[in-house]
C-alpha cells in the first residue's frame, strides 16, 4: 500500500518510539498492539499514545479504524483477519490487500505462503515466496483506483 505523498513527514521522538514498538510487535507476533498495550509497554499515558497514533495515521504510516482509534493496519500488517493470509516463520499474518500480503514476506525477509481468495468468486489462490523470489503464483492483480487517488479512500483501494 503506497503511503503518499503530502504529509508532514515529521515524527517526534515519541511517535517514532510508538512506530518502532508497533511494527516490531507486529513482526514478532503477527498481532498488532493497540493503545492500552502500547501505553503499558512504553510506560506512557494512553492519551499520549493515541495522539502519536493519530499523527502516524496523518502521516500515512499506519491506518486507524474509523471509529475507535485502534490500529486497523500497520502496513503491511493488518490487525484483523482478511482474505490475504500469510504463513511464515511458524506464524500467521494478514495483509489488507495482495500488495501488503506480499509486503509481509518482503518486510520480514522470510519465505512465505500466501493464501488469498479471488476477489470475485472467493476461490482459494496460492502464492509462495522462497529465497526472495516469487516461486509460485496464480491470477492477476487488479488496481481499481488510479495511483493519485489511492488515499482518498484507503479502505476501498
Amino acid at each position: 500500500m503506497v503511503h503518499m505523498i503530502q504529509t508532514s513527514g515529521q515524527f517526534d521522538a515519541f511517535s517514532r518510539d510508538v512506530r518502532l514498538h508497533v511494527f516490531s510487535k507486529a513482526a514478532e507476533t503477527g498481532g498488532i498492539p493497540q493503545p492500552p498495550e502500547i501505553a503499558a509497554a512504553l510506560g506512557r499515558p494512553q492519551a499520549k499514545v493515541e495522539q502519536a497514533l493519530r499523527q502516524l495515521a496523518a502521516d500515512k504510516v499506519l491506518i486507524l479504524a474509523p471509529n475507535d482509534g485502534n490500529i486497523w493496519a500497520a502496513n503491511p500488517f493488518c490487525a484483523v483477519p482478511s482474505p490475504f493470509r500469510v504463513e511464515t516463520r511458524g506464524r500467521t499474518y494478514w495483509g489488507i490487500c495482495i500488495w501488503d500480503a506480499l509486503g509481509i514476506a518482503a518486510a520480514l525477509g522470510a519465505d512465505a505462503v500466501i493464501r488469498a481468495a479471488c476477489g470475485d468468486c472467493s476461490e482459494p489462490m496460492l502464492l509462495e515466496i522462497t529465497d526472495g523470489k516469487l516461486t509460485r503464483s496464480e491470477g492477476i492483480i487488479h488496481f481499481a483506483v488510479p495511483a493519485h487517488r489511492w488515499w482518498d479512500n484507503i479502505g476501498f483501494t
Binding site: I98, W99, A106, A107, S137, E138, G139, A144
Partner: protein
C-alpha cells in the same frame, strides 16, 4: 488491490460494482513492487518514499501511463 483468478473475474467484479476497470499487474510485478516498497519497513531508520522515489519504483516494475501518475 485484489487478486483475481482471471480477466473475466475482474470484469465481473467491476460490473457488479458499476465501476470502471482499473489496471492490472502480474503477480511477479506485484512481488517486485511489494518487495521494494516494504523491504525496509521494519528498520528504525525507515522513512516514507518521496514522490520521486515512488515514481521511480513504479517505473522500475513497468507501471507507466496516466493510471500510475502520482501528481494531480
Amino acid at each position: 488491490m485484489l487478486l483475481f483468478r482471471a480477466e473475466e473475474h475482474i470484469d465481473r467484479w467491476c460490473r457488479t460494482r458499476d465501476i470502471g476497470r482499473g489496471a492490472t499487474l502480474t503477480p511477479e510485478q506485484g512481488w517486485r513492487l511489494a518487495y521494494d516498497w516494504y523491504k525496509n519497513k521494519l528498520k528504525p531508520e525507515w522513512r516514507r518514499h518521496t514522490l520521486e522515489e515512488t515514481e521511480a519504483l513504479l517505473a522500475s516494475v513497468g507501471l507507466a501511463g496516466p493510471f500510475w501518475n502520482l501528481r494531480d
